[in-house]
């Protein structure tokens, strides 16, 4: 116990003297929150739209208005020709275009069935889908509002509701997930480099001939990084909650408790990397290599539901998969410990396995 304390204390001193690492630890989480919070916004709003209104009547203007008022479309230009519309779409000046033919009102009045064309840039499927669905809804509402179709009484009163994130804000989805991502990236990185540094600088040579036991050395080295991990998690949660106003529906205590379990897994990964790598560079490359599939397969950005079965099977081996469900569950859905038991036990199992395995590997005897 005394040895563990001694190692932890000296590790704290070392970290506090390492300016570069400190800056990384403080700035990177907050930077990530900013980038994902402000920059990577997958909410589709204010799609730049060109309008080519050849009818130019009261009714056609009302139609255009109902598009603008929806927030989904913003009229950039009243185009004067089809060519202008096409070129704007080609150049990306517009992502959608509304084309109203000259006899729009006339046809409507004659009940002949008028035509309106909507062109949507389908390059990026996400905004395209949103534009498609919302344009449909806008047209339906317009027709009812203008009395063009009778208000029907449907046999089924279908009322879809969005729970947990009613406004479909991407920050609600992204920022809690960021806790998982940043920890998975930073914590193994600093742990691995901290241990490999001792190897690289020859410190381990001196430690080997002292009576210190491998587990004491490892635990002593890990403790400061658990503390740092908690600080990182806190800084992300704070920025997320206060700057981006993501509500936390569940218990903060449960959230931190789960974070601790996840931290142990992350530390274990770093520890393992340190037993494989010979220098700090190799260690950080190894951690990066492991982080990539985690980001892509864990459900951090891409839904796991749409993955092929075998890819989904792989994602079950990734600790981040479980922790993402846990943080999102606690923060957005207000789930408690027992609701998440299905995610907690695999994570706990991983924590135990990776730590035991790494400590074993970190054998003191060099053969």
């Amino acid at each position: 116990m005394r040895n563990i304390k001694a190692v932890a204390y000296k590790e704290f001193i070392q970290v506090s003297r390492d300016r570069r690492t400190l800056m990384l630890l403080i700035l990177m989480p907050i930077m990530q929150v900013m980038i994902y919070g402000y920059g990577i916004n997958t909410d589709v709003k204010h799609l730049p739209t060109y309008v080519y209104d050849q009818d130019r009547t009261y009714l056609s203007r009302r139609l255009v208005d109902s598009f603008t008022q929806s927030d989904y479309f913003t009229v950039r230009t009243q185009a004067k020709s089809l060519a202008e519309v096409y070129s704007a779409l080609d150049k990306g000046l517009a992502q959608s275009a509304l084309i109203i033919p000259p006899n729009f009102t006339g046809d409507l009045l004659k009940k002949k069935g008028a035509q309106v064309q909507m062109i949507i840039d389908g390059t990026d499927s996400t905004p395209a889908t949103v534009a498609l669905n919302s344009s449909q809804a806008i047209i339906n509402a317009f027709m009812q509002h203008e009395g063009l179709i009778p208000i029907q009484v449907l046999p089924i009163d279908f009322r879809p509701r969005l729970w947990y994130n009613p406004d479909l804000k991407s920050t609600y989805f992204m920022l809690p997930g960021l806790i998982a991502l940043v920890l998975q990236f930073l914590v193994p990185m600093i742990t691995a480099t901290a241990i490999v540094r001792e190897k690289e600088r020859g410190n381990i040579e001196q430690l080997l001939v002292t009576p210190i036991k491998p587990y004491e050395l490892i635990l002593g080295k890990i403790i400061p990084y658990i503390a740092i991990g908690v600080v990182i998690a806190t800084s992300i949660i704070t920025t997320m909650h206060y700057l981006f106003v993501v509500p936390i529906h569940g218990s903060i205590v449960t959230l931190f408790f789960m974070t601790l379990i996840y931290l142990v897994v992350c530390l274990g990964i770093g520890l393992w990397a340190s037993t494989v790598a010979d220098n700090q560079q190799q260690a950080s490359q190894l951690v990066m290599f492991l982080a990539m599939p985690s980001i892509l397969l864990s459900g951090f950005i891409f839904p796991r539901e749409s993955m092929p079965i075998w890819v989904k099977d792989i994602s079950y081996l990734i600790p981040m998969t479980y922790f993402l469900q846990i943080v999102r569950g606690i923060i957005l859905k207000g789930l408690g410990f027992f609701d998440l038991i299905g995610q907690v036990w695999p994570l706990l199992l991983m924590a135990v396995l990776v730590i035991v395995f790494s400590i074993r590997r970190f054998s003191k005897r060099m053969a």
Binding site: K10, I13, T210, M366
Partner: protein, 322 residues
Amino acid sequence: MPDIAISADKLTRKFGKFTAVDEISFEIPYGSIFGFLGANGAGKSTTIRMLCGILAPSSGTGKVGGFDVQTQPEQIKTVIGYVSQRFSLYSDLTVMENLLFYGQIYGLEGTDLSVRIKEVLTLSGLDHFRDRLSGELSGGWKQKLAIANSILHKPKIIFLDEPTAGLDPLSRRAIWELLYQLAEGGTSLFVTTHYMEEAERCNTIAFISNGKILKIGQPTHLKQELSRQILEVACRPLMKASRIFSKLEGVRGVTVYGTTLNLNVSDQKAVEARVKDAAGKEGVEISSIKPIPASLEDVFSDLDTNHVIPAKAGIQGTESNA
């Protein structure tokens, strides 16, 4: 035998088919300085690692401080001090922080620890540097810190792996004064070195080559065994003379010094005549020729020269970069 600090009996270590250390045996009493000499890769480090309990021997036995290297490596670690060749304390910690850390690892606490730290600081002369980052110390002071650090727990046995490699002569002298002080206190020192004049300071020296101990004994004895057999020849051109003389019958080795050659010879009188004769024939100009007492280096180059360090090493000292 309580007066024996370190002993090795047919200690052997193999790495696959390669035998790094081959049945070496020796005994080192407490209070003595044991010099372990050999080229890089001769088996010095492997021997030290076995004796320190961090590498299990393949066969043979060894005892350090009464503990068996095979079965009690952890106990050995509590009774030895170790100074590595490369500075391996934490360079981003201060002198004081390093000592505090290692002191605790060795089981010292509270006042015991602070009293002991004060003692080793005074002994090593590091008082003024206690709050200096150890990475900012000069080479000599770093090494003194490493030694101070290794004696925190008052070990009776200290292993020093080339403690003076790369240091200037003054620092080296200071280090050796420190080592003498420790030996006087009854500590046994196991020192590896490349420097011949440092080997002279040891009570006992052993030459190791290809994992085998070629020669072991007190420096004076080793030199006496050789003393009638060194012929110093001042001549020019030096290199040409060296080539010619080395082929002569009875010449076992030639070492080139600044302006002279040291011939390691079996029969001084006969060889002297042959040297003069050959010099006359080949146009080598001899200005003086006389027998001189052997140095340790001569002892060294007298050993199976093929596998021992090059004869020139040790004059100015090889700058070890191992």
